[in-house]
């Protein structure tokens, strides 16, 4: 019988991807130019509007708000829509049937675009959760989850209806994508709303950091990598008209990739307060991830083996080959950066930014373009409008990426080296933070230029596709298919998965390896012995009966539910092993001797402003256990002044950050100076902060921090504080009992006290405000709440906790008890 595929859905997704891609990249270029020239949001806007807009900086265009818009637009709107396009197109053909439901496809498409519009509106307004790549506020999170479920139903329903008994490797990757993203997204977005647009995550401090980067790292893995690998497996052999290099490589690298990737999340938190066992797992699994990632690259590049001549003639192959090469480069760089010693230098610098752009521009962007150029002629039944324009796009994009990445390597390594350089006498650091920022001005200009080139290239692509579409008319593909008899597919029950010895053997090895991590003294050696025994047994069983293992996998491919369940188990293990123990270990005891002081209502209000403005985009609050960090940000004479676990225990969400374009703020604050604890004396005083928010360069020449004029206009939201504090109490923060009125009164009292220390404060345009008028004006404004928060940063009380026996689920405590219990020198952390 003849079937007609639904090509309207992938066509729409492709157009959406191109449109949002342009938007996302443009926002990226704007954000990059703001880092190069702080005037980009300010004087520059005055100039291009011929003075119609007079501003020192528009709040909704400020870097802290644009950055999440850029990252989310590129990840979820550009790559997301591109992946949906490829998945809808190829799944139908690999299943030899039309997508199960046109209605669900339609809801998926329009729902997803509506969510993106929601993001474009909310981020510039400062509505954010400030969890990286999960910044969307809770109503949009729910929408994402619903639309994702609709996508999943539509996809799995199509698999169920398929007329092709066996699932091709591309589909395995799509399956892994759908189930894993659902798991990650839901867990990382567990939160309690305080209003329609604001919420607190249910995890705080360390727990939030761990869950966030389990999510953040695997958003890269399962949103930007696995769907694109699936797309590579379909579109590359199609375009090259060559067989895929190796089927068995597909199997090994697929299972290894999905199992190992999940464990690597903690490599985003190396050398921080994150418990060392998690850091160790993060590093070691990242190293193990190298080979599985390169398996994908090999299967891509070697498929082209013998067909390299196509590189010269076919822009599609050119884009694919370069994209896969960038994948290889980025997945080599990833494990390298995950080595703790390398990470000392690279973390918090632009090297990380360069790394993600190798992936986003090189791998995702070039693969997207290759797929668009291949699909467009088929979507509109015509020829590609201009091959030479596509070639031009390729070269512009390539030069753009190389400039971008090289600039970021230079910036990252230069800054990393400068930050750790000691003075001649070896008694202090040679450079101040601002020196390192000034040293990388030129790489920043080149980054902006490289990014702009890439955007121009992509605009050429958009134009080419538009012209192609106009030269043809939309068509839907058709195929002759023989309906598949029911018993030829999906005949295995779930039990069958665990009945085969291959699965049993592998599970035993994994189980004892995990047991080895947690087992108490004595048990650990037994577990290690069992790991070795079961590994040997597994290898022997495999050697003896390769055929049966291979047949089992072939049968698995004819049964989509068991395959999906097995894939889910593979991706669930890593997260469970890392997160569940971290949640179980007694939070009140796991603080390394320092317990964070509770925020006053005004300080909390200030913190929520900090979170809303996206300050974490440039400032960390984490002094790593490294010499340059402790020297630069710790207090003189306190040798163990790295950030301890308990110091951020009440932070919902955590603000450890991932990039330092400005200095770390973990110890910006200081002790209280009055009995009522309303005033504090931190590294800088209130007036310094006041002037610095007004004009950072006045106090820190060469700084590229934007001014925040709206802090001096906008009022602090005192009314919402009781609701917010009530939610934090539910989350376990021991706020003192206060009535609603007391909370508001307390906040206003502290605001007035701080405002009273600024009698000579000068606000441009408000010269008439003096004395009590000035004080009352200031007390209402965001600036005072921000100052309150700045002065509180890093406040803690010392807590001595005797420990009788180690927590079962804390390998570091186990180690401590095993090796250091009787050594008084090492017990006093």
């Amino acid at each position: 019988m003849t079937i007609t595929y639904d090509d309207k859905t992938p066509r729409q997704f492709m157009i959406a991807s191109i449109v949002w891609g342009l938007v996302g990249m443009l926002v990226g270029v704007i954000a990059a130019s703001q880092l190069s020239w702080w005037q980009a949001n300010g004087q520059f806007i005055e100039t291009i509007t011929f003075g119609a807009i007079k501003t020192e900086g528009l709040s909704w265009l400020t870097y802290g708000r644009l950055r999440p818009l850029h990252t989310n637009a590129v990840i979820f709107a550009f790559v997301g829509n591109m992946a949906f396009s490829g998945i809808y197109y190829s799944t139908q053909r690999l299943c030899k049937c039309r997508t199960a439901s046109d209605r669900l496809s339609k809801i998926h498409f329009w729902g997803w675009q509506a969510i993106i519009v929601g993001a474009v509106v909310t981020f510039p307004l400062g509505l954010t959760q400030s969890k990286e790549y999960a910044e969307l506020i809770w109503p949009l999170d729910i929408a994402v989850a619903l639309i994702w479920v609709i996508f999943a139903i539509n996809f799995f329903w199509t698999l169920a209806k398929r007329n092709e008994p066996s699932l091709y490797v591309a589909l395995w990757f799509y399956i892994a994508t759908i189930i894993t993203v659902a798991m990650l997204y839901i867990v990382n977005n567990l939160q309690i709303p305080t209003s329609l647009t604001h919420s607190y995550p249910i995890f705080g401090g360390l727990q939030d950091a761990l869950v966030q980067w389990w999510y953040g790292h695997n958003a890269v893995a399962f949103f930007l990598t696995t769907p694109i690998l699936g797309i590579m497996y379909y579109f590359l052999p199609k375009a090259a008209n060559r067989p895929v290099y190796s089927y068995r490589l597909s199997i090994i690298h697929f299972w290894a990739l999905v199992f190992i990737y999940i464990w690597a999340g903690p490599h985003h938190l190396l050398n921080t307060a994150l418990p060392q066992w998690l850091q160790t797992l993060g590093m070691l699994f990242s190293l193990m991830l190298w080979a599985p990632s390169w398996g994908g690259m090999l299967n891509g590049l070697l498929t082209l083996r013998g067909g390299w001549s196509q590189l010269r003639t076919d822009p599609v192959i050119k884009f694919f080959a370069a994209g896969i090469t960038f994948y290889g480069m980025a997945t080599f760089e990833g494990p390298l950066l995950a080595i703790r010693a390398v990470n000392e230098l690279s973390h918090y610098t632009d090297w990380g930014i360069g790394h993600v752009h190798s992936g986003a521009l090189g791998w995702n962007g070039l693969m997207a373009a290759g797929m668009f150029y291949w699909l467009a002629p088929r979507f509109w039944k015509t020829e590609l409008w201009s091959k030479s324009l596509a070639n031009l796009h390729f070269w512009i994009a390539l030069v753009g990426i190389l400039l971008y990445v090289a600039a970021m390597w230079t910036a990252g390594i230069t800054q990393g080296l400068m930050l750790s350089q000691m003075n001649e006498q070896g008694t202090g650091l040679k450079y101040e933070f601002i020196d390192t920022l000034l040293a990388i001005r030129w790489p920043y200009y080149f980054r902006t230029f490289g990014g702009s080139l890439y955007l121009i290239g992509f605009a050429l692509c958009a134009f080419n596709i538009w012209k192609t579409a106009k030269s043809g008319s939309p068509v839907n593909g058709t195929a002759e298919v023989t309906p598949l008899e029911r018993e030829k597919k999906d005949f295995l029950g779930l039990k069958a998965i665990f009945a085969h010895k291959s699965v049993q053997h592998i599970f035993c090895v994994i189980f004892f390896t995990i047991l080895w991590i947690f087992a108490p003294r004595g048990g650990d050696y037994a577990a290690l012995a069992l790991v070795i025994v079961f590994s040997v047994l597994a290898v022997r069983a495999f050697r003896r009966d390769v055929q049966s293992w291979a047949d089992f996998h072939d049968r698995l491919l004819e049964n989509y539910i068991p395959l999906t369940v097995l894939a889910f188990i593979a991706v669930a293990i890593g997260g469970a092993v890392q997160i569940i123990p971290t949640l179980i270990v007694d939070r009140a005891k796991n603080i390394e001797g320092r317990l964070q002081e509770i925020y006053t209502p005004l300080e909390l209000a200030g913190r929520d402003i900090y979170v809303a403005e996206g300050c974490y985009g440039c400032h960390s609050q984490m002094i790593r256990t490294l010499k340059p960090d402790v020297m630069r940000y710790g207090r003189i004479g306190v040798n163990d002044d790295y950030s301890h676990l308990g110091e951020s225990i009440y932070d919902f969400p955590h603000q450890w950050g991932s990039k330092r374009t400005g200095p770390d703020l973990a110890r910006e604050g200081g002790p209280a100076t009055d009995d009522a604890m309303l005033l504090r004396s931190g590294k800088r005083d209130n007036l310094w902060h006041f002037n610095h928010f007004l004009n950072p360069r006045q106090l820190s020449p060469g700084s590229n921090m934007p001014p925040y004029p709206w802090f001096f206009e906008d009022k602090t939201d005192f009314k919402s504080l009781p609701g917010r504090i009530a939610v934090q109490r539910r989350l376990g923060v021991p706020f003192p009992a206060m009535t609603k009125d007391e909370i508001e009164q307390n906040a206003r009292e502290q605001a007035l006290a701080i405002a009273a220390t600024l009698p000579d404060a000068y606000i441009p345009g408000k010269e008439d405000l003096t004395g009590d008028k000035l004080r009352n004006y200031l007390a209402e404004r965001k600036i005072i709440a921000m100052i309150a928060y700045m002065q509180k940063l890093g406040a803690y009380t010392k807590q001595e906790l005797g420990k009788e026996k180690p927590d079962t689920f804390d390998p570091d405590q186990q180690r401590h008890f095993r090796h250091e219990k009787n050594d008084p020198k090492t017990t006093g952390q």
């Binding site: 052999p237 008209n241 089927y247 202090g428 790295y642 952390q829």
Partner: protein, 207 residues
């Protein structure tokens, strides 16, 4: 075209039947074919190598306890630096006297220039480019008042250690100066003192 050629060269089968044979898999998916090439040895080696490294690393750290924790390591390093700093400070202070600072350092144009360069990087933000603290973030350094002692070595101490712990700070903000001994070396602090003296020759003429 290409595929036809490959088909002739390779046997169609699900699996290789003898060692080293490369088959073209029987099954096609929407026209896509798959070889079943052997996994490259160097690739397998990196994979196995990483797994073995995992076992060894975990054993050395957790089982054998051979490596210090990060916290121990960095605390020890900081203690060493602290000692070095104290030594350097002692040496610098021993070699300096109020007299030397006023009559040798503060009169040496190159030393004063170095001090000025340092001053213009950080200090000026609170004490003003002309040392008169116009924005009232810090105390004036040219008003003849030396709140925490008027001896050059007392000024040295103040820069090095920050405002004394019992100080109430500056009214009305309660601002206190942070210690700069972590940022600047003793020599640099002496240069700063020299620069300040050079701007207040009358105040220090008595030494």
């Amino acid at each position: 075209m290409n595929q036809e050629k490959e088909q002739q060269e390779h046997r169609r089968a699900d699996f290789a039947s003898k060692k080293g044979e490369v088959v073209l898999r029987k099954h096609e998916y929407d026209g896509i074919q798959e070889f079943d090439q052997k996994l490259p040895n160097w690739w397998l080696l990196t994979f196995y190598g990483a797994i073995v490294f995992y076992l060894i690393y975990w054993f050395v750290y957790y089982q054998a306890g051979l490596i210090k924790t990060d916290q121990q390591a960095v605390t020890e390093i900081m203690a060493e630096i602290q000692e070095k700093r104290a030594d350097a400070l002692e040496k610098t202070l021993d070699s300096l006297s109020d007299k030397i600072l006023v009559h040798e350092w503060a009169t040496d144009a190159s030393i004063v220039a170095e001090g000025e360069a340092l001053y213009m990087k950080q200090c000026f933000a609170c004490h003003g480019p002309n040392l008169d603290a116009p924005n009232k973030l810090g105390l004036s350094l040219v008003d003849g008042e030396w709140k925490y002692g008027d001896k050059p070595k007392e000024i040295f101490k103040l820069i090095n250690e920050g405002s004394p712990a019992d100080s109430k700070g500056m009214a009305p903000t309660g601002a206190k100066m942070v210690p700069w001994g972590g940022t600047y070396s003793p020599k640099q602090i002496a240069q700063l003192v020299a620069f300040i003296i050079s701007k207040n020759p009358k105040d220090f003429a008595k030494f």
